[in-house]
């Protein structure tokens, strides 16, 4: 383990703001993409089921 303490880890030698913003935004983007896809998939399945029920 490289870090001495938690606060040191969070501070990142004074660059904490930049480093953590980068990591957090990246994580947010990925999570958001997964969620958006999940909803899109649910909508697509619901729609095709609906059509099958309506017509068939």
């Amino acid at each position: 383990m490289y870090w001495g303490s938690l606060s040191e880890f969070l501070e990142m030698g004074g660059y904490g703001l930049y480093v953590w913003t980068s990591f957090i935004i990246t994580a947010l983007c990925m999570v958001w993409e997964i969620l958006a896809l999940w909803r899109r998939r649910a909508a697509a399945i619901a729609e095709s089921r609906g059509i099958v029920r309506d017509i068939g």
């Binding site: 490289y2 930049y18 990246t26 983007c29 697509a44 059509i51 099958v52 017509i55």
Partner: protein, 230 residues
């Protein structure tokens, strides 16, 4: 398949983060800010790699007239655009403390920005054409033409002697530490790669489903087949 890729991605990213944030030592020149490269470099690589993959699918689609390949191009574009955006954003986060500026008009940054516009162009062209077949093919041609930008981004660092550092992250630290950093970065890249595979495949499935329902509306005769399959 998709859950498998997802799990591998989560594992690789977790280990990569552990190495990158907790194990890897600091860089003598850049201080702790260098740790941004653990997301920046993989995102930048993925942004270029995904564009090439997208263009290859477009070429296959145009050459063989295969609808499935066009669905793949459609599925890749948003993820590629997201990684391009992330590469630019994390680049700015890295640039501010090291260069003292959020943005510089350096060849690599500019060409990466152009890549973002190209992704946007491909996606917008698709959405503004109503006819599915024409949308597929036109955006395919557009993606293929844009491929000329990829070597420009990739080699920009060598061609123009600019602010952005060389391709293989310059290791000012001792070689042993470099190996740790490299391991972390490669793991992150692998994780991002697996993540992209999972996301893109699942988006492709959405696209297939959506197009299928669109067809069902106009062709009720095949409802029975589809209903039988499901």
């Amino acid at each position: 398949m998709i859950p498998w890729f997802g799990t591998v991605a989560a594992l690789a990213i977790a280990v990569g983060l552990y190495i990158g944030l907790l194990v890897a030592p600091t860089d003598f020149q850049q201080g702790e800010a260098y740790r941004i490269i653990f997301v920046h470099v993989p995102a930048a690589w993925m942004s270029m790699f995904l564009y090439v993959v997208m263009a290859v699918w477009a070429a296959v689609g145009l050459g063989l007239n295969a609808r499935l390949s066009f669905m793949m191009t459609q599925a890749i574009a948003p993820t590629g655009a997201m990684f391009t955006f992330l590469a630019l954003l994390t680049g700015a986060m890295w640039g501010k403390p090291t260069w003292g500026a959020w943005w510089v008009w350096d060849a690599r940054l500019t060409s990466e920005l152009i890549l973002l516009f190209q992704y946007a162009g491909v996606m917008l062209l698709r959405t503004s054409i109503d006819d599915q077949r024409r949308a597929d093919r036109a955006s395919g041609v557009c993606a293929l033409v844009g491929v000329v930008n990829i070597p420009i981004i990739y080699f920009s660092v060598q061609w123009w002697n600019t602010l952005h550092q060389g391709a293989s992250v310059s290791m000012t630290a001792a070689p042993k530490m470099a190996t740790v950093m490299l391991t972390g970065m490669l793991l992150m890249t692998f994780g991002f790669w697996m993540y992209s595979l999972a996301v893109i495949l699942s988006r492709a499935r959405c696209v297939i489903l959506e197009r299928e329902s669109l067809q069902l509306w106009s062709k009720p005769s095949s409802v029975a087949e589809v209903a039988g399959v499901r």
